[in-house]
């Protein structure tokens, strides 16, 4: 499917050999966007249309993208429509309980095969000319096939493009690239931190039914970086009013203590990152209320989590954790909101968010998770509202020429993280830090410039 356009452009300058899209930015230019040594970042990484288009091929065409939770599609034929970058896909539960993900584009003349958000299907029929696909994405019927088609037409060749599908403890990921490492290898040392949310009980997690979607006119990387690395905004001024909204009546904002103890993790490979406070559950109470704080830190559920995670600190003390699995899967263990940042152009992102709960949690806790994540982390959430305000304005400012040419500061904690913490894998530093952000952009640059998994992949 390589086109002439591609072919004629391959051997120019410093360009990687195997990418299909022409390269307006060359390797040196892309690499220079992040200067880890001096701690600076070129703002065009957020605003440039050409970089955005390359991303669609190089990042979103080769990374593991989170699409939903296993309990979103429990029964055979249950499906969700979702996106990998800007590409629409259908995620379907098969009769053998496996999952399939295929492009939501009819290979005939390109119609979207399925136009609903989800449901249960026995097959998918294209509304344009009636080509029909089974729930595995195989083309099974072509009207007038014998009367009208030609000899070399072969239905088996004309199913929509299939992606690889793998899951990690309930979360479903897909990847277009057959050479990419498998999901576990890709997640690497990040799974240790994902387990804080996903593996507190042998019952695992389940989803609060539903997917909330909204649109923020900003680059997806602001959101991905923030959930990867930025406890600083929560520990300073962004969410003061969100905290105020959660204070018990009578308590003043000035009485609320913002925690200062905690760690940040930068993945050895892969651009994943997380951070969390240790001790001081006050912030968790302010966000999720006393019931959930208690459930998370005390009682049978916490004891069980401690047994599974192997450490009281990880199970009960570590809290208000933020995390991004590169590139766009973000979640907050403890708060349990999970979301993907769907790119929609350099200046726009859709958020698709849902909430998970321990599958064996009491109904009352599940309900409390539902209402509190709604209240705090959702389009109308008292925390999330202010993130939306900030990201939109950063992006708007980047219309300016001066604004785009002044490199941003990404120095915090530079040179202070180290990979020698006996309790926590990966490179570990202080909770207020931008080391994980540097890790995210480092991985992004490698994916944007390295065509070959031999050099790109984890050792």
């Amino acid at each position: 499917m390589t086109t002439a356009k591609t072919k004629t452009r391959l051997n120019i300058g410093h360009e990687p050999k195997a990418f299909e899209k022409k390269n307006v930015w060359n390797v040196e230019e892309i690499t220079a966007l992040l200067d880890e040594e001096n701690g600076t970042l070129d703002p065009r990484i957020y605003s440039d249309q050409d970089l955005y288009e390359l991303e669609q091929e190089r990042v979103f065409g080769r990374s593991w993208i989170m699409l939903g939770h296993e309990t979103h599609v429990p029964k055979a034929g249950d499906f969700l429509t979702a996106y990998m970058g800007e590409d629409p896909v259908i995620l379907v539960r098969q009769k053998d309980r496996s999952l399939k993900v295929f492009l939501n584009q009819c290979p005939h003349r390109g119609m979207r095969i399925c136009r609903t958000d989800g449901g249960n299907a026995k097959s998918f029929t294209c509304s344009y000319h009636g080509w029909a696909y089974d729930i595995g994405g195989n083309l099974v019927n072509v009207p007038y096939e014998s009367e009208a088609f030609c000899e070399d037409f072969n239905k088996a060749e004309w199913g929509p493009g299939q992606a690889r599908v793998e899951t990690y403890k309930g979360l479903i990921f897909a990847n277009w690239d057959k050479n990419a490492p498998n999901l576990r290898e890709y997640l690497g040392d990040a799974t240790f931190y994902m387990d804080h949310m996903l593996d507190r009980t042998e019952a695992g997690t389940e989803v609060i039914s539903g997917m909330q979607k909204w649109v923020i006119p900003c680059n997806w990387k602001f959101a991905a970086e923030q959930f990867c690395s930025d406890m600083y905004h929560a520990g300073t001024v962004s969410h003061l009013s969100g905290i105020e909204a959660g204070l018990p009546e009578g308590m003043e904002l000035s009485d609320a203590k913002i925690p200062t103890v905690g760690y940040q993790f930068r993945a050895k490979w892969g651009g994943h990152g997380t951070g969390f406070y240790v001790g001081e559950p006050g912030m968790l109470v302010a966000i999720m209320g006393p019931k959930i704080a208690k459930y998370w830190t005390e009682g049978e559920a916490a004891a069980r989590a401690e047994r599974r995670l192997g450490s009281a600190e990880r199970a009960r003390q570590l809290m208000v954790q933020h995390m991004t699995v590169f590139p766009t899967c973000s979640f907050l263990p403890g708060i349990n909101t999970v979301r993907t940042w769907q790119p929609r152009g350099p200046n726009e992102t859709e958020i698709w968010a849902f909430t998970v709960v321990d599958a064996d949690a009491p109904d009352e806790i599940k309900e409390e998770y539902r209402r509190q994540t709604l209240r705090t982390f959702s389009a109308g959430g008292v925390f999330e509202q202010d993130d939306g305000e900030n990201w939109v304005e950063i992006q708007a400012v980047l219309r300016g020429h001066q604004a785009r040419k002044r490199r941003l500061n990404i120095q915090m904690g530079k040179g202070r993280s180290a990979a020698d913490n006996p309790h926590y894998p990966g490179s570990i530093g202080y909770v207020y830090n931008e080391e994980a952000a540097r890790g995210l952009y480092h991985q992004w640059i490698r994916m944007m410039t390295e065509p070959d998994w031999d050099t790109l992949g984890p050792k």
Binding site: R115, T116, D117, G118, G119, I208, S209, G210, M211, Q212, K213, W214, V215, I216, P217, C218, V237, S238, L240, S241, G242, E244, A245, G246, L247, E249, L253, E350, F354, T355, E367, R370, R371, L374, R375, S378, A379, G380, V382, E384, Q385, D386, G388, E389, N390, W391, V392, E393, A396
Partner: protein
């Protein structure tokens, strides 16, 4: 036709006049309630929420005609809002805060309340009302959001200045993907 239905002695007339007055009261309540929001008199607006208020906006999904009944998320499923009074009071504190960035500078909103239908006024104290709305929002330099939808309220008689408290508000928003960067305003 008019003569028949509105003759001064007929009981039909009396009932109808009662209906007119109630319609007027309810509409005026909504109009004044809207002004409180649109003029940023938020404390007064929050005072209209009764102690057992449920402020609820379910998700809305794209379904085939056959599955139309699955369009809205149900109780216990995810939603856009599902607040009780304690939660709403928290929102009020956020809104009035000097550090509530998403509403300082404030959104310029305009609630157009239309198609007011009183479904049930059989209870002396509660009125069940359906209405349609357009909510125009403009913010900062040039942000514009336009929302539309339906509100299904339970209003409860009160001796406050507006005559009613809001006991329950269910909002059906006419969007599947919320076409705004946040929902920091009230419906």
């Amino acid at each position: 036709m008019l003569k028949e239905k509105v003759g001064p002695e007929s009981s039909a007339s009396q009932i109808s006049t009662a209906a007119l007055l109630l319609q007027h009261e309810v509409e005026q309540f909504y109009y004044k309630e809207s002004l409180l929001l649109d003029r940023h008199e938020f404390n007064d607006w929050f005072d209209l929420l009764d102690k057992d208020i449920r402020y609820f906006m379910p998700l809305r999904t794209n379904r085939t005609r056959r599955d139309q009944k699955l369009e809205y998320s149900k109780d216990g499923e995810y939603a856009h809002f599902d607040d009780d009074l304690v939660m709403m009071r928290g929102r009020q504190r956020k809104l009035m805060s000097d550090v509530g960035w998403s509403e300082s500078p404030a959104s310029r909103t305009r609630h157009i309340i239309a198609n007011v239908i009183i479904n049930d006024a059989s209870d002396d104290q509660e009125v069940h009302v359906t209405s349609s709305f357009i909510l125009y929002r403009n913010r900062l330099e040039r942000q514009v959001d336009i929302f539309a939808g339906e509100r299904m309220d339970v209003l409860r008689r009160s001796d406050n200045k507006l005559g009613f408290m809001i006991a329950k508000r269910t909002i059906h928003i006419d969007q599947s993907t919320i076409l705004s960067n946040n929902l920091s305003i009230f419906f």
